[in-house]
Symmetry: C2
Subunit: 196 residues, 2 copies
DNA sequence: GACTTGATGTATGCGGTGCTCACTTCGCAC
DNA sequence: GTGCGAAGTGAGCACCGCATACATCAAGTC
């Protein structure tokens, strides 16, 4: 009990407040710094260090949260796809998440501080597993590891390329349509080109 | 004339020296800062600002150089592939570059400061075009845009996932073999699963 | 009910960063 | 020879992550 939002004792539930403030800054597209979120939360610049040993720990907490959000997003009102088209939609949802929350996505994937945070590793593994399950379900005759990594790579790569402006599109919808089309085109490539 | 390596006038060819120092730090896997490369080069901390308006400009110069290196790497003693296997090798070379020069690769792709540097944009476009040409050559019956973006995404995504330790492998060779296998598996997926 | 204790937050300060601005130096065109 | 403008310097600002020493205060113990 007493675990509600009601502030607890000293100044409040700082840890959660810090994560919330950091997440807000990320969503706003702003740079995020320990000192800035401390300011935002109304505590001294060094207060966050009572809850996170260093910046990376905070980043890992945010990334883990983001990975859980991504997983929820990919499963929300969507059964595991059992068609290639359904799989393409799942891929588009993955890219859609990246485009909607670019700064968070970069935090989730753009760094290698992994083995540090068990929470983060577990959340990443859950996303990996979700994708692998969906892909091997649709392509049961392919090597499960090979096709799963390739499929993940395809959507992840397109997400990164659009995020970093190596590819651009006039609107999110157009980009997502492109992702679907590209997924289908690659998966169909060999059978389109009748070659054995 | 006098455009050789011989130092020119005031202190030397600072611009080139700074780029070289920064590149060296990147290869060494170290963080790279304006002040650090100035120190390395033996000039004052603010001297670099005579040659680069800000940090991003230097980053763009490095990224452009890296993109040119990547392109050279992908074309070096390798004709444009005309088989799926050759294309898989090209993809593996792309990932190989990323693994060999991770910090540089992240610089090249991990940021969006594009429209700033025409040089960088052009170098990126050249890489894009090279991949697109190779892919559409091997898959002439697929939509060229769709399959090219998907193919690029696949190798780029796997490069990022391995770079950021979302995927791991015991050795570079094993990773590259995995990239080849995944590329072939995805491209073959639809025709493996006999489904129309 | 006073006392201790340990978790939480503060104050101060170090070394690092990108960057600005006023200054000096010096090669080169005239 | 002289002036000019490009190239380099030095001091300084605001910010950063982080360590260290100190203050506060809820809670458990006698």
């Amino acid at each position: 009990m007493a675990s509600t939002v009601k502030t607890t004792y000293h100044h409040g539930d700082l840890r959660a407040a810090l994560i919330a403030a950091a997440m807000e800054m990320l969503e706003r597209g702003q740079e995020f710094s320990i000192r800035a979120i401390a300011r935002e939360t109304g505590v001294s610049p060094t207060a966050p260090y009572r809850h996170f040993p260093d910046r990376d720990a905070l980043v890992s907490a945010l990334a883990a949260q983001g990975l859980r959000d991504l997983e929820a997003n990919l499963t929300a009102d969507r059964p595991l796809p059992d068609s290639v088209e359904g799989l393409a939609d799942l891929g588009a949802a993955y890219v859609g998440f990246a485009l909607r929350r670019p700064a968070l996505f970069r935090l989730m994937f753009g760094d290698e501080c992994d083995r540090e945070s068990e929470e983060r590793v577990r959340a990443a593994a859950a996303v990996h597993e979700l994708l692998a399950t969906a892909i091997t379900r649709v392509f049961p005759d392919s090597d499960p590891v090979d096709v799963a990594l390739g499929g993940w790579g395809l959507v992840h790569g397109m997400a990164c390329l659009y995020l970093d402006r190596k590819l651009t599109g006039p609107s999110v919808d157009v980009v997502l349509a492109q992702v679907r089309a590209s997924f289908l085109a690659v998966v169909d490539a060999r059978s389109s080109t009748q070659r054995g």
